[in-house]
């Protein structure tokens, strides 16, 4: 079983066999172990999750965590980071969670460049509610709520993030673990808002293993700071059932992140209150 020192908790794991969540958990664990060796304290990490299969990941890690609400990882993570800029805040979210229920938060987090890392477990289906379409399901997807197929194209989340001002945008695939690990590490180290759209299969409701295995490739990161190149890479795949699908860091730039450094000040708040009362008299 787990020793006290393990990053993995003793909570019973209830993901389906073959679920892509295992790979993401493993990759995150490896990155945290690496960073610990480099001097980052374990207690500086705070994991935030939404609601859905992905979200169980916070129970499975023996780390500070905030198991939040469906779609609401980002405002929670923003609050934590604003309270204490020294914490490393990582959001785990699902595609229904983040791209449907909580999409407004995502756009605003990218716009304000809050210094958090977002990992979207994008299996393009609702798993925990047993198989409905999400914003990234392909056109025509037949789910329990749309037996005749959906009549709307998927949302190209990469384009949306670039358009929202995200300073780090990447895509990974849960079966390419070393690549995923590298991207997670870079995202955590990025000063500012970092988003990774992780393609993962849902073993039970949307198993795209063969399609992703065949169609994904690691794109060049030589021009990673060029916005127009990033847009073109992002447009190569529109989340349809046609590949090829580029993976990698599409865009990375520096923009002053939130929260800005606060000066350490000793302020007697009660004294300040008395001064304000005087000023209003």
């Amino acid at each position: 079983m787990n020793s006290d020192n393990s990053l993995i908790s003793d909570a019973k794991n209830t993901w389906c066999p073959g679920c892509g969540n295992f790979a993401i958990q493993h990759a995150v664990k490896s990155v945290i172990e690496e960073l610990e060796k480099e001097g980052v304290q374990r207690e500086e990490f705070v994991l935030v999750s939404g609601i859905g299969c992905h979200a169980k990941i916070v129970d499975y890690f023996n780390l500070n965590s905030f198991y939040s609400l469906h779609g609401r990882t980002i405002p929670v993570a923003t609050g934590i980071k604003m309270a204490n800029p020294d914490l490393k805040v990582i959001c785990f979210a699902g595609d229904g969670d983040l791209y449907a229920e909580g999409l407004d938060h995502l756009i605003h987090a990218a716009k304000r460049n809050i210094d958090i890392t977002v990992i979207c477990h994008n299996n393009r289906v609702y798993g925990l509610t047993t198989g409905q379409y999400t914003p990234t399901s392909p056109y025509g997807f037949r789910g329990k709520s749309t037996p005749d197929g959906i009549h709307e194209p998927p949302l190209n989340i990469i384009e949306m993030l670039l358009g929202s001002g995200a300073s780090f945008v990447a895509r990974a695939y849960s079966k390419k673990i070393p690549h995923l690990r590298r991207i997670i590490r870079e995202a955590i180290m990025h000063p500012g808002f970092a988003h990774i759209d992780v393609l993962q299969i849902c073993a039970t409701f949307f198993n795209m293993t063969r399609f992703y295995d065949e169609q994904t490739y690691e794109s060049s990161e030589a021009n990673v700071s060029q916005f127009d190149v990033a847009c073109r890479t992002g447009q190569q795949w529109d989340y349809s059932d046609q590949g090829p699908i580029p993976l990698g860091i599409f865009y990375k730039t520096f923009r002053t992140p939130l929260p800005e450094k606060r000066e350490e000040r000793e302020i007697d708040r009660l004294k300040a209150v008395r001064t304000i009362l005087q000023n209003y008299s």
């Binding site: 705070v46 500070n64 965590s65 198991y67 609401r72 923003t78 604003m82 309270a83 914490l87 209150v273």
Partner: protein
């Protein structure tokens, strides 16, 4: 006894509210108790705005039907309000824009004489009023200098000219008492939050709560707090959850519609036991309703909002000192019990401007229990309250969870643990009940041994207290509405044979709470037009029922 009211009216954009505040500040600086009511429609330019500024030698938190002076910037003000004027009262009007029986003053002529901006017409009006009332220039000058930080010299010249050239009617003197702070209800609330130890305030603008946001944003640097305005009320409350988890004592503010969006976060706070102070300032509903008018119809909503069962604390202040004390207490209660603590205000209170105590009382810090290690966020205790720690704590893991969870914060569906956690929340509620059930939290006024009793809450108490002043009526007003301070309330009600309720709602709200506790009101005196009652209106209503 001095009790003097001025009505100032004009179009939105005339600077009516600011001029009203300066007039109020003049009276406050002379040592008077001052209350200002501002009435305005939901638009930026045009429309009809008016303020009533009431100065008295005793505390006032309501306005009367009649006024002593009307300051009219336009004809509408004359037409709408002349009937309020007392027989020996006076209308001072802008002779360029209105006609009336009274004193015409060409505001533009004063502005033009000193090449001022058109908005400075209201400076001329303030000067004219002060001259008419015989207030000494030594009183006016420092107030204008302090309040008009832009183009101060020009403003002073304009005010002085209008002051000198108007006929002096009376002579209002200083009271001999010190000047009191003159602030809006929202500002008193914000200041109380700060005194309670607030670290962060998050809000999305919504009338009539925005004043708290504006005030705290304005003083954020000098008080070293975080103030943030995010994308929605949903983000507001979840951001507050994140801030509080990471150790910042956080408050949020909104009105009914915004609070609707906050309810999932509220229930989260209940389940995850994360402290948060929530200011809800009511306006006339349902839905968008009357955005700039008042109401008391969200009491039951706030009391019951959120799925599931969890403890909460709701306080409704009626005076500036109560707003200060209860807001400070809200921070302490929220943090001690790790629950949502509400300040339930309304437009009348939030945007009313009041003089209050320069040294308002600050409640004591509640005793906090130290944690034991290894740390478990949801450790049970006799009173259900777990010691609270914020990350990072070396060697410890701090987990919070929206699911039913175990002592460590890990998800569980175990029936036994589900009951343990439900009982933990219930125990917190019991401990909270014991703490709040004391005479400090139920205000008794009027004739304390009268058998006819009026129950009211929040801003309405100011009107009721004055309206019932000459009547044989007892007034009982709980300051804390959840948990209900039942034993204190029962004591306050001893000997009552007739029970009336005064409230600003269409169906009655607090009467439902009273019935839960075995008190059955005989009459509900309700009002739902968004306008606060004047003392006389309410007095007549009460007389008909006693």
């Amino acid at each position: 006894m001095t009790d003097f009211s001025v009505l100032i009216g004009g179009k939105a954009g005339d600077g009516i509210s600011q001029a009203g505040q300066i007039i109020g500040s003049v009276f406050a600086s002379m040592g008077y108790h001052v209350y200002q009511y501002t009435d305005y429609p939901s638009l930026i330019r045009g429309g009809h705005n008016f303020c009533i500024i009431r100065a008295a030698d005793h505390p006032v938190t309501a306005f009367r039907s009649h006024v002593d002076v009307i300051l009219a910037f336009d004809q509408q003000t004359v037409n709408f309000h002349s009937h309020r004027l007392v027989p020996d009262g006076e209308i001072i009007f802008d002779s360029n824009r209105a006609k009336a029986k009274g004193i015409g003053v060409s505001l533009a002529s004063y502005v033009d004489r000193f090449q001022g901006l058109p908005i400075m017409g209201n400076t001329a009006m303030i000067g004219a009023l002060s001259g008419y009332l015989g207030i000494s220039w030594e009183v006016i000058e420092p107030v204008l200098t302090k309040k008009m930080t832009k183009k101060t010299e020009d403003n002073l010249k304009i005010a002085r000219a209008a002051f000198d050239e108007i006929l002096k009617k009376t002579s209002i003197d200083k009271t001999g008492e010190n000047s009191r702070p003159f602030m809006s209800g929202n500002e008193w609330i914000g200041l109380g939050l700060l005194a309670g130890g607030l670290d962060a305030y998050v809000a999305y603008p919504m009338t009539p709560s925005s004043g708290v946001l504006h005030f705290l944003a304005d003083v954020a640097k000098e008080t070293d707090i975080i103030v943030y305005h995010p994308e929605s009320e949903i983000a507001v409350i979840l951001m507050a959850m994140g801030l509080a988890y990471a150790g910042k004592k956080t408050a949020i503010g909104t009105s009914g519609g915004g609070f609707c969006l906050m309810t999932e976060g509220l229930s989260f706070a209940g389940q995850a036991e994360i402290p948060v102070v929530i200011i809800v300032s009511q306006r006339t509903g349902p839905s968008t309703g009357l955005p700039t008018y008042t109401g008391q119809s969200d009491l039951l909503f706030v009391r019951h909002a959120g799925q599931g069962e969890f403890p909460r604390w709701i306080a409704a202040p009626a005076t500036p000192s109560e707003a200060f004390r209860l807001s400070a207490m809200a921070v302490k209660i929220a943090w001690k019990f790790q629950i949502p603590a509400f300040i339930l205000s309304d437009k009348s209170f939030s945007e009313g401007i009041f003089t209050g105590d320069i040294n308002p009382g600050i409640p004591d810090n509640p005793v906090e229990v130290s944690p034991s290690f290894p740390y478990r966020r949801y450790e049970d205790a006799a009173d259900g309250i777990s010691p609270i720690l914020a990350p990072p704590v070396h060697g410890e893991v701090i987990k919070v969870n929206s699911y039913t969870h175990d002592f460590r914060g890990i998800t569980t569906e175990d029936p036994g643990m589900t009951v343990t956690m439900a009982m933990k929340r219930k125990k917190k509620n019991d401990a909270l009940k014991d703490l709040i059930d004391n005479p400090e939290n139920v205000c008794i006024s009027g004739k304390k041994d009268a058998t006819i009793c009026i129950v009211c809450w929040g801003s309405v108490r100011g009107q009721v207290t004055e309206a019932a002043n000459d009547l044989d009526v007892r007034i009982v007003s709980p300051l804390i509405l959840e948990p209900f301070p039942i034993i204190t309330f029962q004591n306050a009600m001893k000997g009552v044979t007739k029970l009336l309720v005064v409230e600003e709602s269409a169906n009655g709200q607090i009467d439902k709470i009273l019935k839960e506790h075995g008190f059955f009101p005989d009459e509900l005196l309700l009002r739902c037009d968004g306008r606060p009652s004047t003392v006389e209106e309410l007095q007549e209503k009460i007389r008909r029922h006693i």
